[in-house]
């Protein structure tokens, strides 16, 4: 693609936080040493031993939005206000641009709790008239950092403008969960200092990202450049960080490599710095791993003393603190730093004022539950990204857990059987993968681990030795496990919010299944969890393919779609499909199989199947005539007819819908698996998989055989 490896800049920014509404108040609070931490009034803190939070005062919002009645409206309002400011600053508030080329990536941890996570993004896209893909990243507290990274990737040919950021609300549930885990500080959050502990916060931040050339063309001054990002999994524990610091270090190293820099060129680090004893010590270890003896010379501060821990919005709001001070060549301080805590950064910029400091590149770090780490590199001006040829992506292994059972050959039969109608058979996860501890795994997590283990088995790949750190995992899913969510809410109902279940809380982040799967299979490379409603599984496959194409430090990515039925939410889909992807030719192929590659793919808006198909065929460099089979449930007949030039009834079309009793995340991953099966058996030369659609994003993928 012509726009591959384009330099990406930020041309607009917007913020809502406990400090104020808008970037102006955020900057002045940094200048004046003000924080937004105050006693919580939104709900009673009587059951808790802590009452501080970085909450947005209700009367600020009433001035902007006359009525709101629930957390769900609050989350939307935070995001809407921040997004409006970002578009205005970028000079894009009018409707003169191609809305089909405007994408949205929202990072959120708990979302609005009452609705599925992707609803916030679809509601925002609708409000602003964006018609490009609207994708939600939910990797707990690293969500919005990851979202900005994905936005960068989407500018490689899938969108011209991407608005990316995050939003989260300080809800009673979040407060109760963090309180139960014992990580809330009795005083204002004092990262790297005393007392240890964090203060929860809330808010939203959004950035407008564009290719540098486009921004220059329309005369929009760049605020900074997004020069690289990296992701990693701890594969260690649901809520505690990998004590070796290896997980965080891998994310930073990947980001530095992605930006084409050397560690010595990073002049400032905005740490996650949540203030907890575990996190702060691990982060400092990680920085020492990456920067060696030079770590002591780098200013390392945390913005959580100002903002509190804004959960899914933390990454973008903290990146904003850096963006606002970068043009002045100063760095944000660590507020409330009174006395050094052992095993913390040597230079924590302990002050209540920004410090003048010359630097070109800053690293922004965030880590979340489930061991999901993200690092983002922001630079003062764009510099050419290292030009790399996209690596072709090979489909190495397949694993499916659905109505057909766990056996791949049964999947092929089931999909062709028009009468097929069977529920998923019961299975014991420790029979599929003997070394996994099944204790406390909810159905979504079990299906995921089973499908992932089957995919590795099918690929004949053992993840051990150095491959562990080069193997990643991307999940697409549509909702929380109803079992784990039910357990959490029951614990609040039965024991009160002051005694809610910390175990269940650790599993009500959308990325909890990914965290457990990384740990079970030792996948320590990049990890992400995304949702865009139906089609999320295919979205995960395409994000995994992007990782392989872009990141040379990645040798294998498992991509999966997973669903756990939840009759109360009206979702009946149950199952998981997992695909092991690798750079073409990296691993040997088991005998008797054709090599199958993901030749091309497209990511477009919810009502833009034609763009998704156009991108996919352009990338694959083949004509629609060569496709023999279509998998998936995209129902835009007129578009398909336009592409294939024949009535769509005559196109052989298959769907795995009946295998998993619905059309959600798992369905599209299973469709991809079915397509890969016909390619590698030699029955088809080229197959098309379509998925998603309303309300968030449409995906298309073209699979072909490959000969080196």
């Amino acid at each position: 693609m012509s726009s591959r490896n384009a330099e990406v800049v930020v041309t607009g920014a917007g913020a809502v936080s406990a400090i104020g509404i808008g970037c102006g108040p955020l900057l002045s609070s940094l200048d004046e040493g003000r924080d937004g931490i105050r006693p919580i009034t939104r709900f009673s803190t009587h059951p808790f031993s802590v009452n501080l939070g970085a909450t947005v005062p209700d009367d600020w919002l009433r001035g902007l939005s006359p009525q709101y009645s629930s957390d769900s409206d609050l989350c939307f309002d935070f995001a809407r206000i921040a997004l409006t400011e970002a578009l205005w600053q970028a000079g894009l508030e009018g409707d003169g641009r191609d809305q089909f080329k405007t994408a949205l990536v929202v990072g959120t941890s708990l979302g609005d709790l009452k609705n599925q996570h992707h609803r916030l993004a679809s509601r925002l896209a609708g409000h602003f008239g964006f018609k490009g893909p609207a994708i939600t990243i939910s990797t707990a507290c690293s969500s919005s950092n990851n979202a900005i990274g994905l936005a960068r990737d989407l500018l490689d040919g899938f969108a011209d403008v991407v608005v990316a950021g995050g939003a989260d609300v300080l809800s009673l549930e979040a407060f109760a969960g963090f309180h139960a885990l014992g990580v809330l500080s009795p005083a204002k959050c004092a990262p790297f200092s005393r007392p240890a502990g964090t203060t929860l916060g809330e808010g939203a931040g959004f950035l407008v990202l564009e290719r540098a050339a486009d921004a220059a063309c329309r005369g929009a001054p760049p605020l900074a450049a997004v020069s690289g990002y990296g992701l990693s999994a701890d594969a260690f524990h649901e809520t505690s960080p990998d004590p070796s610091g290896g997980g965080v270090a891998r994310a930073i190293q990947m980001a530095i490599l992605d930006a084409g820099l050397a560690p010595g060129e990073i002049g400032y680090v905005n740490a996650h710095g949540s203030g907890t004893a575990n996190n702060d010590a691990v982060e400092w270890l990680a920085l020492q791993r990456v920067f060696g003896a030079g770590a002591g010379g780098i200013p390392v501060s945390s913005s959580k003393g100002h903002l509190g821990h804004c959960q899914g919005a933390a990454g973008v709001l903290e990146a904003l603190c850096v963006l606002l001070l970068m043009p002045r060549q100063s760095v944000p301080p660590t507020l409330h730093h009174r006395g050094v805590r052992p095993r913390c950064p040597e230079d924590p910029v302990a002050s209540d004022r920004p410090r003048p400091h010359p630097y070109r590149h800053a690293a922004c770090l965030n880590s979340g539950f489930g061991g999901a780490n993200a690092a983002l590199i922001l630079s003062t001006s764009s510099s050419p990204r290292p030009v790399r040829a996209a690596r072709p992506v090979e489909i190495m292994g397949l694993g499916a857990v659905a109505g057909h059972g766990l056996n791949l050959s049964e999947l092929g039969k089931a999909i062709e059987d028009p009468e097929f109608d069977q529920p998923m058979p019961a299975y014991e996860i420790d029979r599929v993968i003997p070394n996994v501890d099944p204790r406390g795994l909810d159905p979504a997590t079990r299906h995921l681990i089973a499908a992932a283990a089957l995919a590795l088995g099918d690929a004949g790949i053992a993840v051990r030795g150095p491959l562990k750190e080069r193997a990643g995992l991307v999940i697409g899913t549509t909702r929380l496990s109803s079992q784990s969510a039910g357990e959490f809410y029951r614990s609040i109902a039965e024991r009160g919010p002051g005694s809610c279940s910390p175990l269940a809380f650790a599993r009500i982040t959308l990325n909890a299944p990914a965290g457990s799967c990384s740990k079970a299979l030792m996948l320590k490379g990049p990890t992400s969890t995304l949702t865009s409603g139906p089609g999320s599984g295919l979205g995960a496959v395409l994000y995994a393919a992007t990782m392989i194409a872009n990141w040379e430090s990645v040798d294998l990515v498992l991509a999966a779609g997973v669903d756990e039925a939840d009759s109360s939410a009206g979702g009946l889909t149950e199952g998981a499909g997992c695909i092991a992807l690798a750079p073409a030719g990296k691993f040997p192929v088991p005998p008797g199989r054709e090599r199958a590659v993901l030749a091309g793919f497209g990511i477009a808006g919810p009502e833009d199947l034609s763009a998704a198909l156009g991108q996919a065929f352009a990338m694959a460099g083949i004509l629609p005539d060569s496709v023999d089979l279509i998998f998936g449930s995209a129902d835009d007949k007129s578009v398909l007819e336009h592409f294939f030039g024949r009535p769509s009834q005559k196109l052989p079309r298959l769907s795995c819908r009946k295998l998993c009793r619905g059309d959600e995340a798992a369905t599209s991953a299973l469709d991809f698996i079915a397509a890969a099966l016909v390619i590698r058996s030699g029955e088809s030369r080229a197959a098309l998989v379509v998925g998603g659609g309303r309300p968030c994003a449409t995906y298309a993928a073209i699979l072909t055989g490959w000969r080196s």
Binding site: L181, T239, S240, R439, S499, C500, S501, L503
Partner: protein, 99 residues
């Protein structure tokens, strides 16, 4: 005041079965109640609980028995086996009765 031996053992048995139920229902320990030996370690080589599991156990026991265990990590560190948990609950009950 000395508690009669019989009612003491009865109380112990009752507490043991209630903590076992917490371990199975709340902490998802995959064993039958009588397979959880009161002297098995709650941690790695025994039931395999980790630090978050211990927080869960403490909170669940507090809610179940109306005692306060969270007051310090020193209290938690003593909870190495099921018998320890029961001993702790009994000693807290006696303390509150004494007071």
């Amino acid at each position: 005041m000395e508690i009669p031996l019989e009612s003491y053992t009865q109380r112990r048995e009752e507490l043991l079965s209630r903590v076992r139920k917490i371990l199975i229902d709340r902490l998802h320990v995959r064993r039958a109640p009588d397979e959880i030996d009161p002297d098995t370690s709650l941690f790695l080589s025994g039931l395999g609980l980790d630090s978050v599991d211990m927080v869960e156990l403490v909170i669940a026991c507090e809610a179940e028995f109306g005692v306060r265990i969270r007051s310090g990590t020193a209290g938690r560190a003593r909870l190495r086996t099921l018998n320890n948990v029961v001993d702790f609950v009994i000693s807290e009950e006696e303390k509150s009765r004494g007071a």
